[in-house]
Structure formats: C-alpha cells, structure tokens
Symmetry: C2
Subunit: 153 residues, 2 copies
DNA sequence: AGTGCCTTGATATTCTATAACAATCAGGGC
DNA sequence: GCCCTGATTGTTATAGAATATCAAGGCACT
C-alpha cells in the first residue's frame, strides 16, 4: 500500500503546523475541530470521503452530524489546506498550502494514490487554452487517471 | 440565454442521427429509451442532471425510476454520445461522437453554458505531464470555470 | 453584563446513485 | 413456430453525498 516508506506521522504534523501558522498570519481561526478534521484528512494518503471523516470523528458515544464535517472541510478548502477530488467525491490534503491554488491531480487506478502536480507550465497551458476559446479563466480541475510508477513495478 | 441563435431542433436531430448510425456500425442497440434520453440530454444546451432527465422522461401518468435513466446514461457515455461533467454532477451531449474520447470542458459561471474543447495539443500536454510524473495515462477530466465571451459582452 | 459575530450542534431533508431481483424483449438454433 | 439465451427495462429498496434551517455556545469588544 505504502509506496515510499516515509514517516507519515511527521508528514501529518508538518501539515498541521503549516496550517496553524498560515491561519495565524491570515487571522483565521484554526479551531480544534478544524484541526482535527485536517488531521483526519491527512491520516490517509489516499483521498478520503466526507463520511469516512465523519466516522473517524465520531467516537463510540456521540456521532457528529454531516454539517459539522462539511463545514470544516469547506473552511479547509477555502484556506487551501485541502483539495476536493471531483471524480471521487473525496478530499486530500494539499501538498503546498502556502500558496492558494486549485489542484491538478493524477489518480492511480490500481492503488488509489493521488499525486498533486504543481506545475506552473501546465497551469499556463490550460489557462491559455481557455482564453483562446474566448473564456476568461477562473479556475480549473484536472484529474488524470492512470497507473503510478510503483503499481507498474 | 442562447449564445448564438441556432436551429437547436436540427442540432438535436443531427446528434440523434449520428448516434443511430454509429450504433449500427458498432452493432450496439440504440433502443427507443436510449434515443429518448439522448434527445433529452440535448434538449438543453446546458448540462442536465440525471434527475432532470428523469422528470422530463416521466409524463404525468407513470414516473420512471432512477436506474432507468442511469442505465441509459451509462450506455450513452460508454458509446461516447454523452459526457459527464464531474464538477456539476451533470451530463452534456458530446460534440464529436464519432471518435471516442474523454471531454475537456469550459464552463461559464454566469450562463452555465458548456463548451467542449477537442484540442489534440492540450490532450497531448496533459498526457505528457502525467508521464513525466511516472504515471501511465488512461484518461483525464478537465473542467475549466470561467466566463464565456458572450457573458463578458 | 450586554451586544454582535463566528462557530458548532442538532434535526430534517434534498439530491445523486446503485443493489437486487423480476419481467420483458430480440435474435439464433432447432 | 418454439425454445433457449442474453440483453434490456421495470420495480422496490437502499446507500451515499450534501445542504437548509434553526438553536446553542464561545469569543471579543464595549
């Protein structure tokens, strides 16, 4: 499952700290709930659904309601800490939260891992394509399905 | 609403005839239901949801059930007559059904019109981007949000 | 303490999609 | 024609994803 062995706990910690810092700069509120949801999104390296987060968030006793999760996710997406994968109705942690952007992804159809591409050049090509067709560019989603290097062996 | 005045009835007719012909070639069955659903998808130039199709399909008396619509849509997508717009949970008729492909779209955030881009070069860039990141390429969705020429006046 | 605003809780509902099984229809071999 | 087979459609029920609405709680500022 794990492609590259890496210290995932540290990986999560980094994401949480980065988010904390950015929120302080922006004076937005990184509340315990929002922090926890971000942690849960990062807890899987694969995309996670809102209801999976919901289940993880609900410990035996009390079950949280969907809006609790969706509102937290909305905040995290708004701040750029999380991206939504449209083709999977799922969410992933952003690999570069410092710069707000919309993600372009590759999705492995074998192992479900998702890789975010932060390639300026690709973004520019897409923007130009839109403009050459008469559209102003606001944002875009790009989700490429394929098989990752590891799964091809 | 209409960007360019055009004979939309003829536009629908063309799509239906093309589909008919392609199904004959492929020896797949373009049944009355499938034909009707394709017609309904084309009846709006904007993307249409499965449940909108369902409502249109249900005349007063008998209401069809969701699977009826979804199965027809699945067939039409499989044959390449219809594309699904992930970011809108909606469907649009394909502008080039003769060649199977996955669509790349621009979506106007003002008027909701959708334009399909059939640009080989863009497709190639995306494919190359995936490959340079170690992924084999299967297919991709690209949905660009922006404002179309007409809406910008 | 009182006000206002943001966040979270709670309940209900809407929208989107599929599972499972029954009934019907079309075509091929006899 | 008649039966067999497989694809298509009908039907019922349910799963999965997301939002509307209103109430309650927390925080900051006066």
């Amino acid at each position: 499952m794990l492609k590259h062995k890496h210290d995932h706990d540290a990986c999560i910690e980094n994401a949480l700290e980065a988010a904390q810092k950015i929120c302080e700069e922006r004076e937005t509120r990184f509340t315990p709930l929002r922090r926890r949801v971000l942690e849960l999104v990062w807890s899987k390296h694969e995309p996670i659904t809102a209801y999976e987060v919901l289940d993880l968030l609900s410990d035996g006793k009390k079950r949280v309601a969907p809006p609790t999760v969706y509102r937290a996710l909305d905040f995290l997406i708004e701040e750029g800490f999380v991206h939504r994968i449209e083709s999977l109705n799922s969410f992933v942690g952003c690999s570069d939260p410092a710069h707000k952007h919309q993600g372009h992804f590759m999705i492995c159809t074998k192992c479900s891992n998702v890789t975010e591409m932060n390639e300026r050049s690709l973004h520019d090509v897409i923007k130009k394509a839109a403009e050459s067709n008469g559209y102003s560019y606001e944002n875009s989603i790009l989700e490429i399905a394929g098989i990752c290097e590891n799964c091809r062996n």
